[in-house]
């Protein structure tokens, strides 16, 4: 029997192509300094002389290029549109990120009030070494307080399933 993880119900639940959630995040000096310190990034305009979070980075200072990841609602656990995963009746065997791609219109800066609009743009499946692989592609649009685009990112997440083992609750 042909088994499919991506069903019409899954596509409907993901609302492919539509904005499915919005989150608003303040970019504080503390957050940016903590990110720069945790990534060992001490050479850019986001670096402070202290090796601790002092909160003294001035408003307008750019965040490191990787900072968009800290504002990704999916990775933060703020996004709750993947309830359908709990209804997939097979044992999950793993998962992770396949890729991230960000394009900046300008750097994210201390003092920014960023709204992130999330939409799923694709869902598909392939057979792999660890079973059937479910790919979900997400797009985040990062907007500033004036509604101007700061950045757009595309992220692809994989979850693998053992189709030979059915389970009642896949969580």
């Amino acid at each position: 029997m042909d088994v499919h993880l991506v069903t019409d119900a899954v596509r409907r639940e993901l609302r492919l192509g539509e904005v499915c959630a919005r989150f608003r995040y303040a970019v504080t000096a503390n957050d940016v300094e903590r990110f720069a310190l945790a990534t060992g990034d001490r050479s850019g305009p986001w670096a402070t002389p202290e090796d601790y979070v002092s909160g003294r980075l001035p408003a307008g200072a750019p965040a490191p290029p990787g900072y968009y990841l800290a504002l990704d609602p999916y990775e933060r656990g703020d996004l709750e549109v993947e309830e359908y995963l709990t209804r997939i009746p097979y044992r999950p065997t793993g998962g992770g990120n396949a890729y991230n791609h960000v394009r900046y219109a300008r750097p994210i800066r201390v003092g920014d009030d960023i709204t992130v609009e999330v939409s799923y743009t694709d869902a598909y499946e392939k057979d792999g070494r660890s079973g059937r692989l479910l790919f979900r592609v997400r797009q985040n649009v990062y907007l500033d307080a004036r509604g101007a685009i700061v950045a757009e990112s595309e992220c692809c997440h994989i979850r693998s399933y053992d189709l030979s083992e059915e389970v009642a609750d896949a969580r």
Binding site: L69, E75, R76, N100, Y104, P107
Partner: protein
């Protein structure tokens, strides 16, 4: 700042200075807090074992930040990183040395594209990607 950061002398094939680090469990917890990424695979030893790993694994995003550091540490404040792509090829276990590398793919007066990758000590490329560096002097594209 290296002289090579001048747009006029950046040439295809040139290698940028690598960035290395050996993430410890403490580093991963610190990064989880900074990136708001609390996936248990990066701090819960038992969970990692259940998933088939001998130890917790390094955040893929941490490798992405190493790749971006190769670019920003080389080019300094001559411009800004306008694009970054990271493809995750293989997980890396905590406590193993990782090195991010970059080479110039192409350059012009407006922007420079850099191929990037993270290598484990075995020489395997566990993450690959590229970045686009946009020069500050480029008319009409300077970030505001």
């Amino acid at each position: 700042m290296p002289a090579e950061t001048d747009a006029r002398v950046v040439v295809a094939g040139a290698a940028l200075a690598p960035v290395s680090r050996t993430p410890s469990p403490r580093d991963l917890v610190r990064f989880a807090h900074a990136a708001n990424d609390y996936a248990p695979l990066h701090y819960d030893q038992d969970y990692a074992r259940e998933r088939g790993f001998s130890r917790v694994i390094v955040h893929g995003f941490l490798k992405a930040t190493m790749m971006s550091r190769v670019v920003t540490e080389w080019f300094g404040e001559t411009g800004w990183l306008a694009e970054l792509r990271t493809e995750y090829r293989r997980p890396d276990l905590v406590g193993e040395e990782l090195t991010a590398h970059g080479t110039i793919r192409e350059a012009n007066e407006h922007e420079t594209t850099i191929d990037l990758w993270v290598e484990s000590t075995s020489g395997e490329r566990t993450a690959t990607g590229f970045a686009v560096w946009r020069w500050n002097h480029t008319k009409g594209t300077q970030e505001t």
